[in-house]
Each structure stands twice: as C-alpha cells, then as structure tokens.
Symmetry: C2
Subunit: 340 residues, 2 copies
C-alpha cells in the first residue's frame, strides 16, 4: 500500500528532477537553494518520505552535525532531566543529539565512547561515571573530539560545567544552622569528585558557622541505588541513636530513603514544634516537591547548566571558543519546603 | 602525546599487517578468523585505539546490527527502567541499541523515526506517544522496518509487548475489595490506549466484585506531569469531600501526588485502624517502596517485557519469527506495602 520510497540520493534526485549538487546544497542548508526549488524538494520529501542517509553524508565531511551525550544512568532523574534539556537545545541549534547511557557500568561507558568515535560525532557532552571510569579511554576520546564534562570532571584539560557545590552546600548549611540545630551530613558513596566536594563544602560551612561538622558516610552494594543507601543508613542510625535532629543529605535520592526509614520508625519530619527531625536534600529531584513531607533542598539550575554546556561545546566545535575558563560552576537556589 | 590513531580500515590493515578481507571477517564475527590472527588484531585495536566506522560498514550491508529504541520520555522512570533492560539485552545479543526520546513531543517522535530510518536500523522497539503520535509517520516506518511496540500499541499490524492491564487491575481491585472499602479509581489523562484499558478493567473488576465503579478523570496542562495531575486531583477531591476511603491510582506517579496532597491535609494513609485513607498505585515505580508510606502497587514485569520484546524483534529481523500472536501481555505481580 506504501508508495516505494527512494532509497538513494540518486533515486530521490530523479524523483524530484533536481540535480545531485543542488540536493546536497539543500541538505547542507535549505536556505542555500532557490525558494521554488526548496519548496519542490520539501514537497517531494513529504510525499515520498525519503530520508537521506545522514551518516552517509556525514562520512564525507570533516565533521558531523551529531553530538554525543553520555550520562552514567538515565534511571537517575537528575541525568534524565539534564539530557532532556541538552537534547532540546542541540536540536534547536540544528545539531543531532545521540545519547548513550552506560547504565553505571564502566565497560559500557568505554564502549559508548568507542561508538561515538566510530560515528564521528562532532563533539560530546559527558558526565563521567567518575572514579570507575576508564581514564585512558576517556583521555583518548577527549583528546580527539571536542568535549565538555557535565556535573563532575575527571581531567583538567577538558572544560567542566556543573553545579557550584561550594556555594550550594554553604547556602543550605547556613539556612539550617540559622533555623534550628546544626545539620549532620549524610554522604553518598564516593563515586566521583562531586561527592568529595560537597562533603568538604559542608565541613567548611559548618566551621564558618562555628559548629563541629559530622559526616556520616553512605555505602551500599550498588552506589547508584541511592534511595537504598539513604534508607539503610537511616535504619542503622535509628538503631544506634540519631546523631542529631537535623540531617542534610548529599542529594534528594538519599533523603527519600532517609524519610522513608524515619516514617516507618514513626518519626515526624518537618520544622514545626511537634516534629522530631528535619531532613534536607540537594538537587531538587522532580519528586522532591511530592515527598511526604515535601523536601527542602537546593535546586540545581538544569536549564543554565545545559545552556552553558551546549554553548561552550558548540563554540569549541566551530573554533570560536575564546573562553579559557576550565570550569563553569552554576549556583543553585534554596527551595524551602516542609521537611526542614 | 597520543599516538596517531589509524583513521581508515586501510591504515589499520597496514598497522597490523592483516588483509582487508580478513579484517572484515573479524569485525563481522571475531570467531571467524584464526585465533592467532584474532589475538593480533585485538592487541592492535587495544594498542592503537582504532575504531572501525560501524556505519560505514553497515551502509554496505543489507541490514545493520543497530536497533532503535523510542520511548515517550526518559524522565518517566517506567521508560528509563525499560530502556535500561532493553539496551543491556540487545548488547548481550551483539546488537547496538540507539535510544531516542521525543520528550513527549509528537514532532520529535516523527523526527526520531526519520533519524532511525536514515541510520538504516535493523529494527526498532517503540513505545509510541499514543494519541498524539503521527500515525502516518509511524505506519510508514513500521511498514519498512521490523518493529515491536512496547507498553501500548497503535496499529494492529505491529506486534505489541506490554503489561496485561486486565489481569493486573483485576488483581489489585480484588485485593482492595477483600481487604477494605471498594476503591475509587483515579485515572491518568487519556494519552494512550493503555489508560483506557486500565479504567475499563477497573470497571469490569468492580462489577465482578458487586460494587459500583467510580472513575475520577485526571487532567492537567501537561498530561505527562503525572505527580502534579494526582496532586491537583486530590486537592480538588479534598475540597469537595473524598468520594471514598480507598483510592486506586492508574499509576504510581499519580499516587505520589495523591499521597503528597493527603499528607499536607493531615490525613494518615495506610491500612491500619488509625488511618484515614488507603492509596494504591500501579507499575512499581522505583521510588514506590520509599514513599511515605511505602506504596502498595502492581509490579510490572520489566524484565519479562524486555526479554519478550527483544526476542520477538530479533526473530522478526532474522526471519525466524514463527509467532503469530499480535499481542504478548505480561502479567503483573501484587506488591503489598504500607499504603493499602
């Protein structure tokens, strides 16, 4: 029932009676051919459903219009949110995002980089797994392809766009100290630099507020199963006796697990008089406004991070990158909700 | 500092002193060349970091080893979980998954299909947006490429692997009716067939239990922002007076919003004597065990759905598909937690 679709550029050229060179110009930049020709080609594309083979074209170019995106795991909403914004921006800019997630596995991260290299992507936005990453494979890739690191860096030679952990942790520690008992810090497992930066910022902020810092290290069989890490850590603390009435979690997913364990133990969470415990997080996870109680947290500026990362990468690709800052750290905003 | 990497198959052939045909055989199937040759090639690959251009090779074949995956939005954990399982299975099978998410936008779904077509994918696993999908573009794509629909279908000519909504809704309705007051059903906005199937199953199950069904329709500016849909609907119900003491939500994300609004209103959720309200969901969202209280729900069998969908698609691709079932409906499991 379907009309036969032209398979090759030749067939399409014949189908619409437009020369190959003109077609190539059109696919390079539709604005570069006569309006009438453009309308004719677009009509034929619509009518036949012909799809020029983008890679076949890309292979004949120095550089493709495709951009690789690599994040540790799309099941982590932080990365899912970031990827969504990056893809929408890149499409707006006329680039073609190709997202690969290694699902937390170093060997798949290495394989993903190899795939992007074999696809001759014009550049890549990479949130590395972190300490588990194959540093050699990453260095080889970033040495040959324009790259910007997201969220956390791994190599000083590659620009990084991420959250300003120093500013954001300082802000929420200051708030918690002013509004109640000083916070105990629940840390993530040490998967990347960012986790170390946040706990260091917590310690500095506590000292600046004249309080002794107390960091409780999170751990678990799967360091990316953060709700479970928080849940298990909270159960252990409840058994040993809580180290404080205010808990600051390194991120919201830890906080969800902490709140779940506290709720099961019959504790009331919030900043009211009748409440037993304050819990705060970091990131503004999409579900943090719907937790019970809703979660006080630091909102990472996904939009700004995505905008800056794309702008920097596209400048690097087009050779117009005059920015020599190795790090772009985006400040986060304090979001006051019911939990603290 | 980096050693120059061979750019072409010719250069790599020279670098390791292995003929082009042998190299092609190796990249087709490493087991098809002599063990010593294989070791030599693998050592050179490791040493030089050479990446054969997979697409350049694929273009010269009838069929590529790459498989497209299209899901409405990776920010929805249901799809993020499913994609993760699909990708891991396909990689195991020696295929190369290429995931594209239209982020809930019909025009990006259409563009994504065009992209996959231009990449000559060997097949695709597609969870269509639903009623917003461009049916013509989908029919054109599925008419030319082996496809299996996931989660919800849109075209009877394409096999579907999804949850058995009739079985799963029936099971949780039976449980709720036996263990307390009959459930009122909170529906999602009507985005796809699956939502209609679930509410119909609810009505049938209620009648089978001798109760009058009551469906409360969910709605919102963004039908994919399901927590907000549930939250707003619950606030409205609390203002008008609750239609019942047991609420069955069409999925867990709705339930999170419902629980958040109920918690803010000071209602106690659970199946105990002191509790005001029972809330149940559907899907077993990764966070449903960490909500406060933890959520009673129907666990969709992600693993089985992913396994069946991949097996069916790979059979279609290899021409060994002797299965004429147009639908594979996978039963879900009842997960009893604290909320109902």
């Amino acid at each position: 029932m379907e009309k036969a679709v032209p398979r090759t550029m030749e067939e399409f050229s014949t189908a619409c009676g437009v020369s190959r060179p003109t077609l190539s110009k059109f696919f390079e930049d539709p604005g570069s051919v006569k309006k009438s020709t453009r309308r004719l080609i677009e009509a034929k594309l619509e009518e036949t459903g012909f799809q020029p083979n983008l890679y076949a074209r890309n292979l004949n170019r120095k550089q493709t219009r495709s951009i690789g995106i690599v994040v540790p795991a799309i099941t982590d909403p932080f990365y899912a949110q970031l990827v969504t914004r990056l893809e929408l921006i890149l499409r707006e800019e006329g680039y073609w995002p190709l997202m690969i997630s290694p699902h937390g596995r170093p060997e798949l991260e290495r394989e993903g980089l190899a795939t992007l290299q074999s696809l001759r992507v014009g550049g890549a936005l990479i949130a590395p797994l972190g300490y588990d990453s194959d540093a050699t494979a990453l260095a080889r890739f970033t040495g040959q392809t324009p790259c910007v690191f997201l969220d956390n860096g791994i190599d000083e030679n590659v620009p990084l766009v991420g959250n300003d952990n120093r500013q954001s942790i300082r802000m929420i520690v200051d708030y918690l100290c002013r509004s109640g008992t000083p916070p105990v810090y629940i840390n993530t497992p040490p998967v990347n630099r960012s986790s170390g930066q946040r706990s260091a910022s917590y310690e500095a902020a506590m000292q600046a507020n004249g309080h002794a810092p107390l960091v409780i290290e999170g751990s678990g069989p799967d360091p990316w199963d953060l709700e479970k890490v928080g849940y298990d850590r909270m159960q252990a603390m409840l058994a040993e006796g809580l180290p404080g009435q205010t808990l600051l979690c390194a991120n919201d997913r830890l906080a969800f697990g902490v709140i779940a364990a506290a709720h099961e133990a019959g504790l009331k969470i919030g900043h009211g008089d009748g409440d037993d415990l304050r819990v705060a997080g970091h990131d503004d996870h999409p579900l943090s406004r719907y937790s019970a109680p809703s979660l006080t947290t630091m909102a990472q500026d996904y939009d700004e991070m995505a905008r800056r990362a794309c702008a920097r990468l596209l400048a690097m690709i087009s050779g117009t990158d005059d920015d020599d800052a190795q790090q772009v750290l985006v400040p986060a905003k304090l979001v006051l909700r019911a939990s603290a």
